[in-house]
């Protein structure tokens, strides 16, 4: 288990980085940005995997398995729909 102060340090840096990066995304891509962000927020699957596989057949395992399913919907659906949308964006030819 990592220390609280270390985790807070990571949090601070990534919040600043997030603001810098997202401010550079043009308005025309805001919908794909949002659905892509949906996919990234499915990162909870990583936490859910360890809980779902504990093999104890306890509450944590059931909750973890449900969380794996929900987060995977986000991950797979989010990345696929974003890819579909970004495929529409074409530059003018000629």
């Amino acid at each position: 288990m990592l220390g609280a102060e270390y985790l807070l340090f990571i949090l601070m840096l990534s919040v600043f980085l997030g603001f810098e990066l997202i401010n550079k995304v043009p308005a025309t891509l805001h919908t794909p940005l949002m659905s892509g962000a949906n996919a990234i927020s499915g990162i909870t699957v990583v936490g859910a995997i360890a809980l779902a596989g504990n093999g104890n057949a306890d509450t944590a395992q059931w909750l973890g398995a449900a969380a794996v399913a929900l987060a995977t919907i986000n991950v797979v659906g989010g990345y696929m729909v974003t890819d579909r949308m970004l495929g529409f964006f074409k530059k003018k030819v000629g």
């Binding site: 997030g18 025309t28 927020s41 944590a60 929900l70 659906g77």
Partner: protein
């Protein structure tokens, strides 16, 4: 090198790929590749998580991934682009639910106070995101009425819910062994999500889904603290920042503060009658064709009405004919033209309009004076000059696209009814405005036939 080290390095690599993927989203030319980079990052993170030595049984993991993956893939393929706001709203909710469950499952008898606080936060934010998003989804898909739901004593009920949430959260942190507090926190945060979104009207949903997008990230972030995993914190805070920025942009585009959107229904608009001078000048599609034929610079200002009429494909066709006729054609996109940030751009991109023809409001406004014809399709409030000229107007101060600066303005409109906000639009009475009444798709169809 131990397996634990390998897992940690996998998480570092995944975080780097998320960051690099978002950076590539900074330009439409690299965005698709950026999304792919981000997806690879996710794959790396999931593989790293599967290496965890604590996993003894993969049955439930595989079952969850198969079920979730199938549902997600199906949804991504089936969804119509007009329904993207609903899908994003629903996905926000699922993300919130997943964080709630992870926070709940992370509860162990030996948890310290810091962990307990982060568990409470991930349950709380996750729960609010879940039910709030479901209500937003219901309103956007019109399964629920899209209006604001208000009742007397709402403020009191909401205050009680907030107090209840805080009290049960504190009690949970003090007495984690008593599961009654845990269930209270879960139940009340679910109730709170519903109460927070029902009083917000359909027109404000772009703000709400941006904010819930941010919450889904923050919930993942809190879950990351609860289980001490830094990749959740990095990814969650990137999503959180993204949602906050989009929320700000939406609020600015509507000239409203976030608290105004969240706490006051849209109904409190003063219905002061504004004096509008001039008269409505209708035009037939045939006459409109003669003016368009002579135009060398055309700006098209689409609103959500264009998407409702499914007119984007005929608009693209008209755009091509105008270009063959030697005119320069651009689209002016207001930030709140669609039902979520950037929605109109996706709808036009789907109709094969190149993205370099889609100009933001700040880009098109300075050019408006050199535009011969501005065509307004299914937009109303976002081109309303009252926002600039009439101080008593409820939308005064909202940034709008200054179509009236163009030499001629065509407004394609079904009838003379007011827009979503119910505000009179002086644009229709301007000297250089011509109203082309009828279904937008049919009117443009006539123009196309005249050209060819």
């Amino acid at each position: 090198m131990g397996i634990h080290m390998l897992i940690e390095l996998g998480y570092v690599l995944a975080s780097g790929l998320f960051i690099y993927g978002l950076k590539m989203l900074g330009s439409p030319a690299t965005a698709r590749k950026g999304n792919m980079v981000s997806a690879i990052g996710m794959l790396v993170a999931i593989v790293a998580a599967l290496l965890d030595q604590g996993i003894v049984d993969f049955t439930y993991i595989v079952a969850g991934i198969v079920v979730g993956g199938a549902v997600g893939a199906l949804a991504a393929r089936m969804i119509a682009m007009t329904s993207m706001p609903e899908m994003v709203a629903l996905f926000n909710g699922l993300g919130g639910a997943a964080s709630l469950l992870v926070g709940w499952a992370a509860l162990t008898p030996d948890a310290n106070v810091f962990t307990l606080v982060t568990i409470v936060l991930s349950i709380l934010i996750g729960g609010i995101t879940l039910t709030g998003s479901l209500i937003a989804w219901g309103k956007l898909s019109e399964n629920l009425g899209s209006g604001a739901t208000t009742f007397s004593g709402q403020q009191i009920v909401n205050s009680l819910v907030v107090l209840g949430v805080i009290a049960s959260a504190v009690m949970f942190a003090l007495e984690p062994s008593n599961s009654m507090w845990l269930y209270l926190v879960i139940g009340l945060s679910l109730v709170f999500g519903i109460m927070a979104v029902i009083p917000i009207g359909g027109a404000d949903m772009p703000v709400v889904i941006s904010l819930l997008n941010s919450y889904s990230g923050l919930a993942a972030c809190a879950a990351g603290f609860a289980i001490g995993n830094n990749v959740l914190i990095v990814a969650g805070s990137l999503v959180g920042a993204s949602g906050i920025i989009l929320t700000q942009i939406m609020c600015k585009a509507m000239n409203r503060s976030l608290s105004n959107v969240l706490f006051s229904g849209f109904a409190s608009v003063s219905t002061e009658v504004t004096e509008v001078e001039g008269e409505i000048k209708p035009i037939s599609a045939e006459d409109a064709y003669y003016i368009l034929e002579a135009a060398t610079n055309v700006a098209i200002i689409p609103g959500y009405g264009m998407a409702v009429a499914q007119a984007q494909h005929v608009v693209k066709e008209l755009c091509e004919l105008l270009e063959q006729n030697g005119a320069e054609v651009n689209f002016g996109i207001h930030p709140v033209a669609g039902r979520m940030p950037g929605h109109m751009n996706v709808l036009l991109a789907e109709a094969d309009v190149p993205y370099d023809q889609l100009l933001e409001m700040d880009e098109i406004n300075p050019r408006m004076e050199s535009v011969d014809v501005a065509i307004v399709i299914g937009a109303n409030d976002v081109v309303n000059p009252a926002a600039r000229e009439i101080e008593s107007s409820p939308i005064y101060g909202m940034p709008v696209i200054n179509v009236a600066d163009a030499k001629t303005v065509f407004v394609l409109k079904r009838s003379m009814a007011s827009g979503f906000a119910g505000i009179e639009n002086p644009l229709f009475y301007k000297e250089n405005t011509r109203m082309l009444f009828g279904d937008a798709k049919e009117s443009i169809g006539i123009l196309i036939r005249e050209f060819s």
